[in-house]
Symmetry: C2
Subunit: 223 residues, 2 copies
Amino acid sequence: MIAALVGDPARSNMLTALMTGRALTASELTHQAGVTPQTASSHLSKLEAGGLVEQEKQGRHRYYRLSDPDVASVLEGLEGLAARAGHMRVRTGPKDPALRHARVCYDHLAGDLGVQMLDSMTKQRLLRQRKQDIELTAEGERFLTDALQISADALSHPRRPLCRACLDWSERRHHLAGTLGAALLNRFTELKWAARDATPGSRVVNFTRHGEKRFAALFGERE
Amino acid sequence: MIAALVGDPARSNMLTALMTGRALTASELTHQAGVTPQTASSHLSKLEAGGLVEQEKQGRHRYYRLSDPDVASVLEGLEGLAARAGHMRVRTGPKDPALRHARVCYDHLAGDLGVQMLDSMTKQRLLRQRKQDIELTAEGERFLTDALQISADALSHPRRPLCRACLDWSERRHHLAGTLGAALLNRFTELKWAARDATPGSRVVNFTRHGEKRFAALFGERE
DNA sequence: CCAATGCTTCGACCGCGGTCGTAGTATCGC
DNA sequence: GCGATACTACGACCGCGGTCGAAGCATTGG
């Protein structure tokens, strides 16, 4: 009984929060639902069992997203029906300052620019992205050598993949992790395009004006 | 919370039964839901309050239908989601013999031919049908006089409307009632196009071969 | 290695809502 | 008018499922 899953207020709140298309952690969904973590966990496993959401482990976090655009459209339809009957719902706003723009995620670039980079590389066919797995194309290897003097051979690691899709905290979309992701951020700092913020616990990455320009030249949005 | 309405098994069964687009009586929906009439009545009023179904009184029956094609499509979508998760549902079959073809409803024609007649008359702009209300057009008045020697003036009645939409039991769509509906059936019998079945309690109306042909000439399906 | 964080599992509580029995209203057939 | 049928209204029961506390497991960071 799928509708019963959506029918519960707590679960409905969670699903509504996920309607943005972003992935949210269990904690955030807990907050959205206004219940304790135990209760939220129960709800989330039910939603997952019902095929409405999917889970992605990320360290000690668990990110949830709607498992399908179709799910979103059905939920949209239900909200439409509710609208005529006189009900309504609210939306939650955004969050933080400008570390959404660029920051480190472990050792690689995250934030707006991180997501933008992965998107651009995929669009330029430097990477081939199949669901969770990402692989470097021959074209991509050439690009790395020519534009950034990065040798793909040197990036092989016994226990760590070359490329990996990593869920972005602020954008709630994937950015590039793995040894390649780390190498890219490292190269950016070497080239003085960017540097980690000086303040102690900060994850912010500050791009220089020159760096931002060069980055845009390689990974900027094209139409 | 619309989804909660759909979430209950009894209500879900009712809604599924209504997915055919036909209107069903409270009793039939009761049977579909597998609960007592009291329970079913409660469910139906909730569904109506939620704007999912509409009610139409018909003598001592109450016919329910989905209030909107949109409702049907949302339900369809929910069933689609359920299908992937491994669930499924069944369908109920048709019902009776050939009195679905033509029978009396009080004093007017019902069944397949009754519905067909109203459809055809509306399509020919002899009637103007606005939701529940039906009115005879000038063109319709002419048609009645010319083709069937029926004078619309003679049909006015102090307490009964000339035209009325009546919900068809077998087709679950409207057919034509009111003094006009009665006059038409009466004229058909006068013309020996049709006659009520001889067997005592029967509601069947038997059309002669000739009558069926003439009827089709006036109200047959055109593309 | 230890403490902290993020999340899940288990178990118990409890209230909402579905259920039905009884009773009441409306309509039809006679 | 009468009884029968179709349905609704009220009230009480009770079980399912949402809820949270306590405890457990996994991961991170030091």
